[in-house]
Amino acid sequence: MGILSSSIARKVAMALSGLFLVVFLAQHFTINVISVINPDTFNSWSHFMGTNVLVQGVLQPILIFGVIFHFCMGIFLEIKNNSARKIKYKSYKGDRNSTWASRYMIVTGLVVLAFLGLHFYDFWFHEITYKYLESNPEDPTRYYPELVEKFRSPVRTGIYCVSFVLLMLHLWHGFSSSFQSMGWNNKYSKGLRAFTQVYAIAIPLGFIFIALYLHFNQIH
């Protein structure tokens, strides 16, 4: 794998792609929370994001690459790690020395990935169909009603909320761990860890709040 041939290089690549996704998540959250505060602003921001050439032509492909890279590298590392202990312990007490979130990053990551499939189906494929396949005229006021409509189903809202809990667990370990992978462990690490843990809880909880708010505030 060339530049990614060493275990440390792979971990750094994993950390960098993870941090990129963390930054994207904050941006995504900022736009979504506006839908609760001011639907008109949400419409105009969404219209900008959906029609801007730089966002659509450059940033979106980078984001998709980031997601695919993080996922593929995660799977690759999991396979390598499994082969490093082919014969498993009969008795293994991981809970005595590490957190559940740190041991099951692959599980929480795969759930988040499955959620992303649904999320893409709900919004991204819908956008592609609306804009390019059906060639509908652009309507800057359509975004908020479409968003609210998506959360009409209690099942879909429930799936979103559960996925956000898993995202919380993934971020709880992954965000702070990425700094350690890049060699950042010093007197500021305790404060940084506290920040990453607040982020890991606050952002997914915020997304859960938005999903529930939209579900219970349907446009009639």
Binding site: S6, K11, K86
Partner: protein
């Protein structure tokens, strides 16, 4: 104390092993874990059975020979000790104790509870040293001033006894804590600077070649390490590695 021991028995590297159950009686709380195994083996020998093979040497927590996974944890349930320092008072009458060898593809089982940890030796040989002319005009190490903090950190890293508990504890069987301790003990000292670039690149390359897993930063290695080697060493090694990779 009456105990039930479930011990991994494996004839050699090429045969499949299994857990075998051994009831044992008359164990005192003041006995060490290895003394308890000595009692078991004495009984097995008297009955004409094959004794359980396990690694041990100094029996005072210095050599790093003893290497048992006891009830799912390397060196057992106590902290900052090796198996030989574990006392039977940590267990209760009637307990079942599962004893397995340290598990990693890079630590193949030789027999029963003994594993081949020569992969650690090869990592050390790849760069865990400094080149010093010893032909009679060697400079006294104390003649070179060293910052107290760096000297302490280096010493702490150097307390690693290479037992392999970090690998055994890690869910990925990663050897990052061991390798990072061996990199750090020199990286922090002026004597280690000259060969720093080759050292970290070669030791990490050897570590990967041996088939150890990747570090997931779970911190299990630090918790289970009998010498309390810190995760800071892994971060330092990562920094050293990235710097060395850029330098070439």
């Amino acid at each position: 104390m009456k105990l039930t021991l479930k011990i991994w028995r494996q004839k050699n590297a090429n045969t499949k092993g299994e857990l075998k159950t051994y009831p044992i009686d008359g164990i005192e709380g003041d006995m060490s874990f290895l003394e308890m195994l000595d009692v078991l083996n004495e009984g097995l020998i008297n009955k004409g059975e094959e004794p359980v093979v396990f690694d041990h040497d100094c029996r005072e927590g210095i050599c790093g020979s003893c290497s048992l996974q006891i009830n799912g944890e390397p060196h057992g349930p106590d902290r900052l000790i090796t198996t030989c320092q574990l006392h039977m008072r940590m267990f209760k009458d009637g307990d079942t104790i599962v004893i397995e060898p340290f598990r990693a593809t890079a630590f193949p089982v030789i027999k029963d509870l003994v594993v081949d940890r020569s992969s650690f030796d090869r990592i050390q040989q790849a760069g865990g040293f400094i080149s010093v002319n010893t032909s009679g005009n060697t400079i006294d190490a104390n003649a070179i001033p060293v910052n107290k903090h760096d000297a302490d950190e280096s010493f702490n890293a150097a307390t690693c006894i290479g037992c392999g508990a970090c690998v055994a504890a890690c869910k990925n069987a990663s050897a990052m804590l061991f390798t990072s301790a061996k990199v750090s003990q020199f990286a922090l000292l002026p004597q280690g600077k000259t060969e720093a670039t080759e050292r970290v690149l070669n030791m990490v390359a050897q570590m990967d070649k041996e088939g150890f897993g990747n570090c997931s930063n779970t911190g299990a290695c630090e918790i289970e390490c009998p010498k309390g080697i810190s995760l800071e060493n892994i971060a330092r090694m990562n920094r050293e590695y990235l710097g060395a990779s850029i330098k070439g």
